[in-house]
Amino acid sequence: MTTFRILPVIENRRLGPYTLLRIKDVGIHKYAGCGQFVMVGLSFLRDPFLLRPLSFLSVDNDSFSLLIKIKGRGTEMLSMVKPGEYLKVLGPLGRTILPGEKGILIAGGIGIAPLFYQSQWMRGGVLLYGAKDKRELVLVKEMEDRGLVVKTITEEKGGTVCDLVMENIALLKGQRVFICGPVAMIKSLREIIRDYTRETFVYLERRMGCGIGGCKSCAIKTGYGYKFVCQDGPVFPLEEVEIG
């Protein structure tokens, strides 16, 4: 059930270089599914005009959380919202996916947000997680507490997430793999893991107008013509989509 509502922020705190916003929404856990996202904007403002797509980070009985990386004006303004202030929220949006009990998650940077949410449904599995520096590696302990084996790497020391994947390539054999991170990372990983995994899925980003399948602006080229990230995604089988 997708709705558009004005909801209060109840918490705003830093998490590494990111902002964690908690938004009050009683009953949201009943209809927010794995893989889904919301469109969020500052209430009553016409500029920024568009709402911004953000993945669920976590969902419980009376609230949900978002993890925001400042990219431009929209995310900067959202990360300054104070508890007690209100946001426009459209969602849940996108197709729900089957998380699978185990599997391999590969995260680059802020790509951790939807994968952390996905791990809520998982029992074990492995997280391969790369970031720029140590401060950017967030939620590692929480993922371990959920039973995942977490392996990390930073560009400061060690290399990129692709290096980490190569080191651990044997783990991917015959597994279901989920990737979320920058386009360049997805492109390189595609080559590296091609012959190993059973199935690979990727969380994609696109500039969105409506977020709900109305405007046809979030098109992505697939083997079956254009599909829409907000409606058919945001999670796609990696071999189906053209990246970049």
């Binding site: 558009f4 016409r46 409506c210 109305g214």
Partner: protein, 301 residues
């Protein structure tokens, strides 16, 4: 209670607020109570399916958006079979927008449309066969398109003009002459955005159509010029996001309005506009939309 219904040239709406073409599709039925809307204009349909432009297709500008969707649609056959039956169940007046690459295509498309409350003719698209100039840029070509559509249907024909016409009033006069029942004023303005990293236009097709609050005064002026010069009903479109924007359009004399990009910022905007126009009319003792229309006071020194 004020009477919000409007009726003009074969078109009857329970209120004067419509959803504009191209910004919405069926998933919005989950969000908006369509029964409350005066009417809906479905996105522009062509004879055969078109996949649309390569991404990116849309980006934000100050107070608005710019799009290069490329009129993606699945063609008239799919519309008649799959979409129209669902639209007919929504409890509001259904209009379909059409476009073609040639005048012959407009004519054929028109002959395949039945069972709607009217046709909106999108002449803001390029005349591919004759060198790519917008059909709506030239009064003579606009006349020919309108004539071709009107002679192939008994349905009300609304012609949606492009603000890119050198003289939009001349185009308005000629589509009226050709038999249009009403005019929508107007479509998006052409604009350009450059990616400062690549030094290239962000869209592959270079330009895009600008919409949203950013264009409201520009579009309103087009509507104003047309209502003054042409005596067929005008439907206002361009930058309407709330009831006050809508009133500006009514005061220059439009008969109805279309809400477009505003739904990206607030999907409930069309409903809030209807409720607030209702409240405004009650508070100011307007009994119907006609009383409120065209009240603009032009005495200025």
């Amino acid at each position: 209670m004020a009477d919000l219904s409007v009726s003009f040239t074969g078109i009857e709406l329970k209120n004067p607020v419509m959803l504009a073409s191209g910004v919405w599709d069926l998933p919005y039925t989950e969000l908006i109570d369509f029964e409350k809307l005066g009417g809906i204009v479905y996105k522009s349909i062509s004879l055969s399916s078109r996949e649309g432009n390569p991404p990116p297709r849309l980006t934000e500008i100050p107070c608005g958006v710019i799009n290069s969707i490329g009129l993606a649609n699945k063609g008239i056959e799919n519309f008649n079979k799959e979409i129209l039956p669902q639209l007919k169940d929504l409890g509001t007046e259904v209009f379909v927008s059409i476009f073609g690459e040639s005048i012959e295509e407009f004519a054929e498309l028109t002959s395949r449309i039945t069972d709607v409350s009217g046709i909106e003719v999108n002449i803001s698209c390029p005349n591919v066969k004759e060198g790519g100039l917008l059909f709506g840029a030239d009064p003579d070509i606009a006349y020919n398109v309108t004539k071709a559509v009107c002679s192939n249907t008994d349905l009300p024909v609304i012609v949606k003009l492009t603000p890119e016409a050198v003289d939009i009033v001349k185009v308005a006069l000629s589509v009226k002459e050709a038999g249009a029942s009403a005019i929508t004023a107007s479509n998006t303005f052409q604009g350009l955005v450059i990616d400062i990293e690549t030094h290239k236009p962000i869209f592959r097709r270079i330009t895009g159509g600008v919409s949203g609050p950013a264009i409201r005064p520009l579009s309103l002026y087009k509507a104003y010029q047309i209502t003054r010069a042409v005596d067929i009903p005008v439907i206002g479109s361009g930058g309407i996001t709330d009831w006050m924007d809508a009133l500006e359009y009514f005061f220059v004399g439009v008969s109805a309005i279309e809400v477009g990009s505003a739904i990206f910022n607030n999907p409930l905007a069309p409903i809030e506009i209807i409720d607030n126009i209702n409240r405004y009319m009650d508070e100011n003792e307007y009994k119907n939309i006609l009383e409120m229309k065209g009240e603009v006071n032009e005495e200025r020194c």
